[in-house]
Assembly symmetry: C2
Homo-oligomer: 386 residues x 2
């Protein structure tokens, strides 16, 4: 096991009908800015419930945060915070709204003029010393942003990941009933995103971290077990509750503590989203299988463990076992309605080069847990994923 | 899944040779009281390492905290804190030292005269509003106290559990190499204590909490896999690291979130320790198998799941499968050198009544996840455990 730090102070409030407790978690007399995305939280009554729970607080609203939130959108919220001396932000939505809120929370305390200086290419610590406190009400399980200190913001041609211990949410409300109205495709995206969050922390090389491995395998087995049922039974509380908690646990530091991590699929996927505007989870699903086939030598030990413990595959040569596990993974994604080939999307084969160029321009020339996934290998991964 | 809150802000620093980082985690210019138990942290050089890491801080020492720490011992440390205006406590030891430190931290801020008013029979919230901040350096994995807000203190004839969000350690250093010098019996106790912490949160009734169940099963499987090897290879870093992290994860709120819990074995075991001075873990190992046999009807669903997923037992009637799983559990404890019968200890059969009387005098007349484990049933459990 590698040395590690584990620190996660976000207070989770899990379950149905608990919104009235929110007033115990926001400092008294705070001026609160509610951040959200499109109209769904209005349409389905969530915003009304939140406003009702916040009676007694002075409340402002900022809607219109897009999927893959833009830096320039965030800056409009920063203006509202500065103009109105907002003390607390309440993000109501999924990963995009929460990620945007994280950027807003640090940008609102930033004293300089160059807001792009807070983010860099790839995934970097944010150079900040203060942030506006915020909590979240999660409506779309997927990114884990409700219980971690990471965020991804889009600006110009890139997606920029950053982190800071200052951007842990103070609290997150996880109410499975708030997910009942989600479109099926978003639930499918969330399941695949969660699954691949786990794999990026699990499918590296063996390091004898048994709790972490078994917990990762437990999330994968649960997602396989409940995936399609969660999509097809939108008002089944237990499926939604199990999915929601797995999504949070998949990326809150727990299974990644003390193990090597490989975020190549995410880094490549981010460029595909930035260039072709394809949903984040869908880009992961087209990159991952091809990446695993390309890297099956380096990942052999963990791929065999994955095949054996998650898919119960034990017969055949190592090569056959690994290929069977990758096929099972593809079939699982497909069963949720998520394609696993680039050619399933309106991307021309000759445009694959553009993805490589973007990776290069963003400095992503040596990815993976071993730092040797170079651009020529990435190009082959993309060609084989077509 | 039941509604739940999950909040755990303890900062874990895991790995070898990290003590020099402690100065970044204790507020500057703090006056620090180091609390510890017997002489082992002096004998094996741990105290010197800690003192060396704390250069620049004004440091006080309070040693002599016993196993099953006594309230009166804790009050001597409270006097030192008040006399010297101590700002921060650093517990160096196992669960007893950390539990004592938790009591010391709240008692040092208590304004009244009746220090027993901070604890009650059984397991209760501590009626406190302030506590001296503290961190821990763990030397004995077992109780999980390094990453939770629980404590058990002994006073007169009883063991008194209490909890408060104020008694989360600010940080805990988990260095597996500090466990290399532990006596084998303490390691065995720690493994069994950890295992039963998991079972008390897992072997109740099914509630469809899949992440929690699989994470619990993962800890159990890991302990079975590494148990005897951890004891027999004291300087094997990986065994110790896996054991240490499992012990922390077993009782930090993670696997108990959103599920029913049954702490009957602990409550009965506490009385046996209080009366006969038998190690905590050893009392659990003699109560648990008999309790499971007595309660196999109420626990049938989870016992079958335990048999199937943890022990891979699938053949036979439900009754046979459950009995086989309980026998496997006993054999596992025995293999670590831990007995599973009361008659293995110097307790006379007629003294079993005394345990029942103690439970009664401490108000423990209806234990378990369903609140219907009455004293007559407990008496039968003890008789069958003899």
């Amino acid at each position: 096991m590698l040395n590690f730090n584990f620190y996660n102070p976000t207070h989770i409030v899990f379950g149905k009908d608990r919104l009235s407790e929110i007033i115990t978690l926001i400092p008294e007399k705070s001026k609160v800015l509610i951040t959200y995305g499109g109209g769904s939280i209005k349409k389905f009554g969530t915003l009304d419930k939140v406003l009702n729970a916040l009676k007694g607080f002075k409340v402002f609203e900022f809607g219109g945060i897009e999927a893959n939130p833009q830096l320039n959108t965030c800056l409009k919220a920063v203006d509202i915070i500065k103009e109105n001396n907002i003390d607390f932000i309440l993000a109501v939505g999924g990963g995009s709204v929460i990620d945007a809120t994280k950027y807003i929370s640090i940008a609102a305390k930033y004293k300089g003029n160059d807001y792009t200086s807070l983010i860099k290419n790839g995934f970097s610590p944010a150079p900040v010393t203060d942030a506006v406190a915020f909590g979240t009400i999660l409506t779309l399980p997927a990114t884990g942003s409700e219980m971690n200190a990471f965020s991804v913001i889009s600006h110009e041609s890139g997606k920029h990941g950053f982190f800071s211990p200052l951007i842990y949410p103070k609290f997150s409300f996880l109410d499975p009933t708030l997910t009942f109205t989600l479109p099926k495709t978003q639930v499918a995206n969330g399941i695949v995103d969660t699954y691949i969050h786990v794999l990026e922390q699990y499918l590296t090389y063996p390091i004898d971290a048994r709790f972490q491995d078994r917990t990762a395998e437990g999330i994968l087995q649960t997602l396989i077990e409940i995936g399609i049922k969660t999509i097809e039974n939108p008002e089944d509380y237990n499926y939604r509750a199990n999915f929601m908690w797995c999504a949070t646990m998949a990326l809150n530091g727990l299974i990644g503590a003390g193990v090597p991590q490989d975020w190549s699929t995410h880094m490549i996927g981010h460029e595909i989203t930035a260039k072709f505007n394809i949903d984040h989870a869908k880009t992961l699903a087209i990159v991952l299988p091809s990446l695993l086939r390309e890297r099956k030598g380096k990942k052999e030990g963990k791929l065999l463990q994955y095949a054996n413990r998650v898919w119960n595959i034990t017969e055949g040569s190592n090569e056959e076992i690994i290929e069977a596990a990758i096929v099972k993974t593809e079939v699982f994604f497909n069963s949720l309605g998520i394609a696993t080939k680039i050619s399933d999307y309106p991307i021309k084969k000759e445009e694959l080069k553009d993805i490589i160029h973007q990776l290069e321009s963003h400095g992503m020339t040596a990815l993976s847990e071993t730092g040797d996934l170079t651009l020529d290998i990435t190009e082959r991964i993309l060609e084989n994923a077509y």
